[in-house]
């Protein structure tokens, strides 16, 4: 194992600055709060700017397939910023999960390449039709069945960003075993239950004899799906880091300004020590998230361990940071008006996403030979 670069390169730092500028401008909390209860909970204009104009949907996609030819290290950085602003864009569903599934399939196969081009260019947004709670290493799903003619039937619950998707990447089981298919959203029924996470919604997607295009057959589909789940779980750690970072910064700013008993509440040691603990967790979360992104980017043999460590740790840190943020704001932290709840909801929902911390620890037990 050579030592991975856990820092941010100059290019990554520049990328961060431009994404942050855009989000500061276009995703400020008041407007965001208004949007989450509107008819358009996803910000399609912002998504278009990010995906099509800045080219962020196709960062790890090779240039000949319409992407930027960068790597998921850069994707992770964008996720940090998106987490920091809980931006209501289908980045995880489309640019991470659906895209990684395609990159994990045979990109020389024309339907795969064509769909990658659509997603990478931001022309369409996609979603991976599995429950968001699916962990890497899960059995190939059987919720959707494919018939001999390539038509899909079945319902998949809790698909991340399913409501914003124009095309679904669907794992389905047919007469020849597992397969990965593409289905246009117009050929599916998409129901949107009320989501815990207001800024990344889930959808229940039903296929009833839907016309599908085969992307990968029995030989490639399980590996493509696993690639998507592992990549998603590893990169989600960076988003969780961003969520936690906002919570820490916002809490620090609040306790410095808020006076009780004639002094800033941030001068009370009981609070300072709790905030110092959150800071410390963030130090480790950043290292773990960077390592996971680097391991995924380089296709390291250690990616499994890196992802299990990052996802089990960062998920917990984000929830802790968000819970402390609410508590240390006092009454205002409990209001709808203050954005802290958007972060708490994102943090808590993300803890269940792509494997709970306990599930990742169970994976780790096997990988590092510490059986139960």
């Amino acid at each position: 194992m050579s030592t991975p670069d856990l820092l941010y390169s100059d290019v990554e730092t520049d990328l961060r600055a431009s994404v942050r500028d855009l989000l500061t401008d276009r995703c400020e909390p008041t407007a965001l709060l208004a949007r989450v209860e509107s008819a358009e909970p996803y910000d399609t204009k912002l998504w278009r700017t990010l995906a099509a104009e800045l080219g962020l949907a196709g960062l790890p996609v090779p240039e000949e397939l319409g992407g930027q030819g960068a790597s998921v290290r850069e994707t992770a950085l964008v996720l940090e910023e998106l987490g920091r602003s809980v931006a209501p864009v289908p980045f995880l569903g489309s640019a991470v999960l659906a895209t990684a599934a395609l990159l994990g399939a045979d990109t020389g196969h024309e339907p795969v390449a064509a769909l990658l081009r659509r997603l990478a260019s931001g022309e369409a947004s996609g979603a991976l039709a599995v429950p968001l709670s699916t962990a890497p290493g899960s059995a190939f799903p059987s919720a959707v069945a494919a018939d001999g003619g390539g038509r899909l039937s079945g319902t998949v619950r809790s698909v991340a960003d399913g409501g914003a998707a124009e095309v679904f990447v669907v794992p389905a089981t047919g007469p020849d075993g597992p397969g990965l298919y593409a289905v246009e959203a117009s050929a599916a029924t998409v129901a949107e239950p009320v989501s815990l996470d207001l800024t990344r919604r889930i959808a229940d997607v039903t296929f009833a004899g839907a016309q599908a295009t085969l992307l990968a057959g029995a030989n490639g589909a399980p590996a493509a799906l696993e690639h998507a789940l592992l990549t998603g779980a590893g990169l989600l750690a960076s988003e969780q880091l961003g969520v936690a970072q906002w919570c820490l910064e916002t809490t620090v700013a609040h306790v410095r300004d808020r006076y009780q008993f004639g002094r800033p509440v941030g001068s009370f040691q009981a609070l300072k020590h709790r905030i110092a603990d959150v800071w410390l967790e963030l130090v480790a979360a950043r290292a773990a998230a960077r390592y996971a992104a680097d391991a995924l980017a380089t296709g390291s043999d250690d990616a499994g361990v890196a992802v299990a460590v990052a996802q089990s740790y960062c998920a917990t840190v984000a929830v802790h940071a968000a819970e402390e943020c609410v508590q240390l704001h006092g009454g205002i932290g409990m209001t709808w008006e203050h954005p802290a709840h958007l972060y708490l909801k994102r943090a808590k929902a993300s803890q269940l996403a792509l494997g709970t911390p306990g599930k990742h620890r169970a994976t780790l037990a096997t990988l590092v030979d510490l059986p139960g």
Binding site: M1, T3, D5, L6, L7, V252, V255, R256, R263, P264, G266, S267, F268, Q269, K272, H273, I275, A276, D277, W279, L280, V283, A284, A285, R286, A287, A288, R290, Y291, V305, A308, V309, A310, S312, Y313, G358, H360, R361, A362, L364, A365, V368, D369, L370, P371, G372
Partner: protein, 397 residues
Amino acid sequence: MSESTIDAAELRDRVAALLAEHDPATTERPEFLRARFDAGLAWVHYPVGLGGLNAPRELQSVVEAELAAAGAPDNDPRRIGIGLGMAAPTVLRFGSDELKQRFLRPLWTGEEVWCQLFSEPGAGSDLAALATRAVRDGDDWVVNGQKVWTSSAHTARWAILVTRTDPDVPKHAGMTYFVCDMTQPGVDVRPLRQITGEAEFNEVFLNDVRIPDAHRLGAVGEGWRVAQTTLMNERVAIGGNAMPREGGMLGKVAATWRERPELRTAELHDRLLTLWAESEAFRLAGTRLRQQLAVGSPGPEGSGMKLAFARLSQALSGLEVELLGDDGLRYDDWTMRRPELVDFTGREAGYRYLRAKGNSIEGGTSEILRNIIAERVLGLPSEPRTDKDVAWKDLPR
């Protein structure tokens, strides 16, 4: 100091040259270590002539790996942790050229052990309250007072010492920092037995101990600033070292887990894996911190690593005692001894559990480290203070 042009390949060449001239198989240990120091391969980020090559700090690992592969002896850092981690960076930063030349080589080779005469019965976390007096007498200073919890004072040849030189100004302003000869008349070292049974630390009485002014580090009255350098480095020294995956305390528990399947329970399993993941995350954080600090000295972030290290060591060693069940009821040996070296992961689980309790006290308690993070890293306001503008002699105690 000029910009360094040394890279890993160059270092490998220099190690090869050292090994060619001083075959570790036939060279006496001290002689090999002296030659290594003189070749600039002791601590490569130190200046040329003082054991280093002005090279980037992270290249040290290249040297260590090459020398370990050749079976070369090391300087046993567990014996001389205070010298390496605390005295050396302070001497380097504040010592005169003569002091650097005199002290750094035998410090690094381990021929001279160092200890740290900071804490006193009345001044622990509040180190700046210390009372040991140093009074100028010609070219010397005469020191009187009592220090406590002094690790390895019984093996030390030299000490870093902070004293009060001006009781009439507020406490932070009236301190001066010295190198103290532990063999001087008037230095009286007595063991203090610890919860582990042994006496790693001591109390040290200083009665009319003479220290030449040439052994002063930093200006008169600047002792607090000099001590800060020592303390920042101490926190990196405890908990900031590069470690392989599953190294340290985690490795001990993991080995027991693998060897003793009959002891496993579901509850301990999840705790172990939670700590495994956390330890790995903090190990990576240490790597990241070292990448950031590749050149330069540790900032307050180092406090974070020490805080994490203490918590994880305690949690892991406590878990191991529980895991051991019946065997956890036994202890290897309570005999009073004065050990030559400190090894946090040495001996058996019970010892490790008890010794780890010191990790959140020594080198700044975990409470103090959280204060430092909150105030210096996050910029939170300090608690109201009553002691800042009061002359030291008028402080309540």
